[in-house]
């Protein structure tokens, strides 16, 4: 019963993406009259979704790479070692969980504008790398939190053995602990992929050049604008284009996912 309540509406979106414009004025539950794949080609080529797609892939992958490179060591150290300032750093990241992107986006933007101006460059805006960096930063609190609680569940025996063997802390982390945290890393990748892929507000503010836009921003151009004729078929085709990669990724990793989400889970 519950499964149906989910499956039906989703099937509905796919159905809608195959309809012709005039069919949208009829009952929303009617099956499409034919397979109107033109919606997809229109969205992909005319509405530039192809370019935006590549941009999105690029930004999302880069952001995830940065995020992992930065968050893994930090989470590891925070969960395994006690040192001065650890409490403060932990508290900072915990507090960071409550910061909402919606209100910090303008301050970040103004900061980047200021950098551009004082350094006489245009580097900081319309730059996929900067966008990815900001994405990674905003995801840090949650990611570190997740990884940290997973690291905390891992037994210490392995590390101690590595130390006895004279392994450096860096190698211990990279070769022993990180592989053990794999389920949790997969979870982190999936969660952040979803949020980066669908992110709209930051991308809209930072990417003002048309060729630099990402998929969710491009999708807005397909949306219904007030007082203008609607292009529903194209819009739903665009929505499906945005949705498919996340769906595929989820199906691929869903088995691993359950292992990795023991947030603050049971101590082993």
């Amino acid at each position: 019963m519950l499964a149906i309540s989910v499956a039906v509406p989703v099937a509905w979106v796919f159905m809608a993406s195959l309809k012709q414009n005039s069919e949208f004025y009829e009952s929303p539950w009617k099956l499409p009259e034919g397979f109107n794949f033109k919606n997809f080609t229109d969205a992909w080529y005319d509405a530039n979704m192809g370019t935006y797609f590549i941009n999105s892939v690029f930004v999302t992958l880069m952001a995830i790479a940065i995020l992992l490179a930065v968050a893994l060591p930090c989470a590891y150290v925070l969960s395994r070692f006690s040192f001065r300032g650890r409490g403060i750093i932990k508290a900072l990241f915990m507090g960071g969980l409550f910061i909402n992107v919606s209100y910090i986006v303008v301050p970040i933007f103004l900061m980047l504008v200021g950098l551009n101006r004082s350094l006489q460059v245009t580097f900081f805006l319309n730059n996929h790398f900067v966008l990815a960096l900001v994405y990674a930063s905003t995801a840090l609190p949650f990611t570190i939190y997740l990884l940290q609680s997973y690291f905390a569940t891992l037994p210490r025996a392995y590390e101690e053995a590595a130390y006895v063997d004279g392994c450096s802390p860096f190698r211990t982390m990279l070769q022993i602990m990180v592989p053990m945290a794999r389920p949790s890393i997969i979870t982190v990748i999936l969660f952040n992929f979803l949020s980066f892929w669908n992110e709209y507000i930051i991308a809209l503010t930072f990417m003002t050049d048309d060729v630099m836009k990402t998929l969710p921003v491009g999708l807005m151009n397909l949306m219904k604008a007030q007082n203008a004729a609607a292009q529903y078929g194209k819009m739903y085709a665009g929505l499906v284009i945005v949705m498919l990669p996340t769906l595929i990724l989820y199906i691929l990793v869903q088995k691993k996912l359950t292992e990795g989400m023991t947030v603050g889970g049971i101590k082993g």
């Binding site: 519950l2 499964a3 309540s5 989910v6 509406p9 989703v10 509905w12 979106v13 929303p28 539950w29 490179a69 930065v70 060591p73 930090c74 590891y76 925070l78 070692f81 040192f83 900072l92 507090g95 960071g96 969980l97 409550f98 909402n100 919606s102 209100y103 910090i104 303008v106 301050p107 900061m111 960096l133 930063s137 905003t138 840090l140 210490r156 590390e159 802390p169 860096f170 979803l194 669908n198 999708l219 949306m223 739903y236 929505l239 945005v242 949705m243 996340t246 989820y250 199906i251 869903q254 359950t258 292992e259 990795g260 989400m261 023991t262 947030v263 603050g264 889970g265 049971i266 101590k267």
Partner: protein
Amino acid sequence: MKTSKSFLFFCTFPALALFLIFMAYPTISVFVMSLYKWGGYSAAKTFVGLNNFRALMEDDRFIGSFRNSVILLVLVSIVTLFLALWCANALTREKIRAKGLFRVIFYIPNILSAVVIAAIFSAIYDPSRGLANSLLSLVGIEPVMWLGNRSVVIYSIAIAMIWQATGYYMVMYMSSMSAVPHSLYEAADIEGASRKTKFFSVTLPLIWTNVRTTLTFFIISSINISFLLVRAMTGGGPDGASEVFLSYMYEQAYTNSSYGYGMAIGVVIFVFSFALSALVNLATRREIVEL
């Protein structure tokens, strides 16, 4: 464990630096801006002290958005929590075929964008030919104006949020439930415990830390998701009846040329969610069951 300072430094510094630059600093400037009157474009910024906060107290629309946010927070969290626990328990403990399929299907709403969810629900809530009213008419109930009635609209949004979130938390609970050792259930079986007792005296205590953590997630995500859904489904209407925290912040900061005022709302959201989850954390503290 002891280790060299430089290792600790290299591990924490990049994360800390990014965090301070792109999260902490902007947040501080939000706090600062909340003390100013500024339209958002011109250079004219006037320091007004706590005036923005004082004005908030008297702003009926803000109070309405506050109330709506709290209703959604409480209602959605509680219902989602129960539904997710129940489904997770059923899927891990019971022998159900095609478990993987269920796991995929339940999670799907979580990866849909708010626009898709809004489109789906506007087809469901359509007053004359929507799914919801068609079902009601089968049992002979008068059609309900799901999005048109001021006192119903916020619950209509709550339903969409619950639909969206249940799968996510279910997957989360499933992961910790599957880590509960099987031997405990076998022991319970020998003692002849019912399903209910097994759930309340074995499963729930063991995943309690997990449940507690998700309570914080509920607070954070409900504020966020309610905004995305409200913006796509009703735009805060009719007549502001479904306005929530962030949607009202947006309206003030960007369309009413009151950026400073909007940021004051941002500060309230931050402090509110922070304090609430600290409170929830305290209230749900139990002795952790160690194995």
